[in-house]
Amino acid sequence: MDAILALPWFDFTVSGLVLGSIYALMAVGLALIFGVANLINFAHGAVFTVGAYIGWTCAVALGLPLWASVLLVALGGAAVGALIEVIAIRPLNRQSRIAPLLATIGVGLILDQTVHMIFGANPRPLPVAMPAWRLTIGSGSVGPIDITIFVTGVIAAAVLYGFLFHTKLGMAVRATAQDDDAAKQMGVNIHAVNMAVFAIASALGAIAGLLVGIYYNAIDPNTSFQIMLKGMVAIVIGGMANVPGAIGGGLILGLIESYGIALFGASYRNLFAFSVLLVMLLVKPNGIFARGRERQAEPMTGTFVTQSKPIRLPGWLLVLAVIVAALVPFAGKPYVTQVMTNALLYALAGISLTLIAGTVGLISIGHAALLAIGAYASALLTIAGLPVAIGLVVAAAVTALVGTALAYPAFRLRGHYVAIGTLAIGEIVALVILNWTSVTNGSLGVYGIPPLEIFGIDFFSTTPAYWLVLGLVVVFALLQTRLLSSHLGRTWRAIREDTVAAETYGVSSNYYKGLAFGFAGFTAGLAGAITAHQFSYINFDTFNLLTSVLLLTIVILGGLGNVAGAILAAILVAGLPEVFRALAEYRMLFYGVALLLLIRFRPQGLLGSG
């Protein structure tokens, strides 16, 4: 206890506030957009990066003075923001509610990749002459840029607050946020309002990119996602659409991270951030600054699934497809077989996610966690001596149990909150794997995982491995299709369409959500476990957030809830980039554009959602 008290708490507080003011600056823009568009703008991190690079171009390449750079960065950011609104948000006005969120992920990928292609992947310095004085506080010091970041955040929040609550245009913004149809009838040009909000928020995000770049004297095209996640946690703490609250949320997050590091060490920092996110969602979803106890209507309740009639593939076509698939190894191209094995492993995970996200309607951005649990369970058990075949089954069962238990608290969340909550759970699982060194070997990963074999029969070689995975995909696809046409499938869909109505009819929604997670966890766990035996080496990063996003893309491409669609989409998503390998550098761009076009023009997916 004395040791804890003796820590330099004052210095940790200063560190936390300096870091927190960066998060706050990000959060203000996110909160503003959330307030109007009911949307977490996943492209906000990319806008931050674009701002940093516009800043570099102005301040370093062109040698402009700082004030001119800031101005141009703000203008550039505003232009990008307006563009995001026109391209990705406005056309999706009448579409399923998940559509704009996914569109911003697509835009983010495109912006990041564009920056990457123009400026290269290397981090570069951003030397901007700042006054040399530093203010000594405690045993450390803060410089002019630290203070600028903090002050910019506070001023931006104050000005925006004044604008929102004391000007006519601000009233229009709030009216649009509450009910855009009513606002339209009152003569508010809601498109102009939305565009203005995106422009203002993005200008702020871009300035944040410049300031933070100056602060670290380094800019890097790969920071977008991390900084955007922190901004998101900050607005969840401060209240999603609460602009002044975002400042508080950012500072609190900075302090939590700093104190967490003080007590437990640096490798726990993100574990704290995401645990706080989860707890906030469950306990105080309106943010800690919300007045009273009443629960505001959660944003985006109702289903995310675009209504459509799924395309029924005739039986003979499916049988033919399986036969053709089974013949792939005879083409004599092991590379193609391997790519197809990868694709089918994605398909297996996709079948699992389409049940959760499509049939039950819980959009999950943390599905990779289930793969990771299955992979680690099977790897550790088989290294300890269990035969691989048994390891696979036990791992799948473990994933079903652990996955359901982990997701259980998220069952009461709806809409956007499910997406954020599952994202947090996914990150938490990865961070626990990283920090639970005695079991998981921490950052060293698990090496020497036995190759795939089932009771002495080799399934490691390319062709048998392929057939094994193909067999599993067929079995689980049939099983799931059967379940979906039973009363269970109807119950799941009923919960998705209207949980309250379903409960009124005596359906215990938690029980049925649990069943869905159990089944999906088993399938995903199996996919993860097979992957582990195939790789022979895994670590905490093998199944990461990108895997989750890719799986979600697959499931949407196939049509939410559509089993055959998920398989088809997995083959397309995992296979097509291999065909276009020559264009390797543009691959992420390709994903981004594909996601955007898909959501815009065929939101129900290739085979229709069901």
Binding site: L7, A266, P451
Partner: protein, 380 residues
């Protein structure tokens, strides 16, 4: 005249093609089927910058090798497949290389995860996997087709401990390390080596590669009251750490592992870099002619100074070319050749040879450096 560097990524190669066509003397023309090396590495994704650095080193080396007649008259070339540093893709690439008879040896991948996932396939397929950034202690353990010219961690950490404890006299050291397989292994070995030399490690903190802010971590380190800080970092994160150490007013000696040795480290860390100790296996202050020629050629070709990754990539092509010239160009020739080759000189190693037992490079020669006036200087 045959253009020697016909990679599939022709776009990037085109610019170089012009330069090469002009530079190649007519007499050293290569002809016949080319000898192809398969490279699996990141060209996109978060680690893409390393793929870029590799290509610069590879292209420069090939230009020279092919100007000298390639491999007995056959031009040497490489095919770069983008794995995004992702194991799913590196295993698919492995299948592609193994089944393509024109690939005689494979180079890469970048990280342990991506490389070691593919190792069992290369081992079964009988194709040498040559990893030059794979310092993971288990990398070469999959089988006798895994070879590495990456400095092994145990050698490197002995060097670090010698520098920090014996040379600088540090007794209470705080270690800040990347929380990756590389950084964690380095930290663990360093703690042992420091202990053997009579020093104590009073604090260890791991951070993830995408972290940018270290103030709280450093406050914690400061509270442990060390007399020096050791960084197991790469150059970009290492530079951020060093800057923030000085901004927090921590005035302790800093020793950083050799991977910070990069011009970008100096640029990003700025004035804060002054006084940082590090070691280099590749350094322009080295008088050896191999090093000086490399730096001159590299600076001419790319108008910037090379870093460690450029040098390692450059060496890799040269080592493999030397093996092929001496022992032949079949997959088996290269495997047995790597075990026999000795004494060739490269940028990083004055005399390259491999320990046939652990299949790792031998012959490390570190140079102790310190940053002064924004430049790496010999530490006297």
């Amino acid at each position: 005249m045959t253009f020697p560097v016909l990679t599939r990524r022709a776009l990037a190669g085109l610019a170089l093609a012009g330069a090469l066509a002009a530079a190649l003397p007519a007499g050293a023309e290569t002809s016949g089927d080319s000898v192809t090396i398969g490279v699996s590495g990141p060209l996109t994704g978060p680690q893409a910058q390393y793929g870029e650095l590799w290509k610069q080193g590879f292209d420069l080396a090939l230009k020279k090798i092919n100007a000298d007649g390639g491999i007995d008259g056959q031009p040497l070339q490489y095919v770069f497949e983008d794995s995004q540093n992702d194991p799913r893709q590196s295993i698919a690439i492995a299948q592609k290389f193994i089944s393509d008879p024109s690939i005689v040896v494979e180079v890469g991948d970048f990280s342990s995860t991506a490389s070691m996932a593919a190792s069992p396939l290369y081992q079964r397929g009988g194709l040498v996997q040559f990893g030059f950034t794979n310092s993971h202690p288990d990398f070469t353990k999959t089988g006798d087709y895994m070879w590495s010219s990456s400095i092994s961690q145990s050698q490197e950490q002995q060097v670090m401990a010698d520098y920090a404890v014996n040379r600088l006299g540090l007794k209470k050291i705080a270690v800040l390390h990347l929380n990756t397989d590389w950084g964690t292994t380095a930290k663990n070995i360093f703690i042992e080596e420091a202990k053997q030399r009579g020093a104590e490690v009073v604090a260890t903190e791991g951070y993830l590669p995408d972290e940018k802010d270290f103030r709280a971590t450093l406050t914690r380190i400061k509270a442990a009251n060390p007399d020096g800080i050791l960084l197991e970092s790469y150059y970009s994160d290492g530079a951020l750490v060093v800057r923030q150490i000085r901004e927090l007013g921590i005035d302790l000696p800093i020793v950083a592992v050799g991977s910070v040795y990069s011009p970008d480290f100096l640029k990003i860390a700025g004035d804060a870099a002054n006084g940082v100790h590090t070691v280099a296996y590749f350094t322009p202050v080295s008088p050896r002619p191999e090093v000086q020629t490399f730096i001159k050629d590299f600076t001419t070709a790319y108008s910037k100074e090379p870093n460690n990754f450029n040098a390692m990539a450059y060496d890799t092509m040269n080592i493999l070319a030397a093996v092929m010239r001496q022992y032949g160009t079949t997959r088996e020739d290269i495997k047995s050749g790597l075990g026999q080759i000795s004494g060739i000189s490269s940028v990083l190693f004055p005399k390259v040879s491999f320990d046939p037992e652990i299949r790792r490079v031998m012959g490390l020669e570190p140079t102790d450096l310190i940053v002064e006036n924004g430049q790496f200087q010999l530490y006297q």
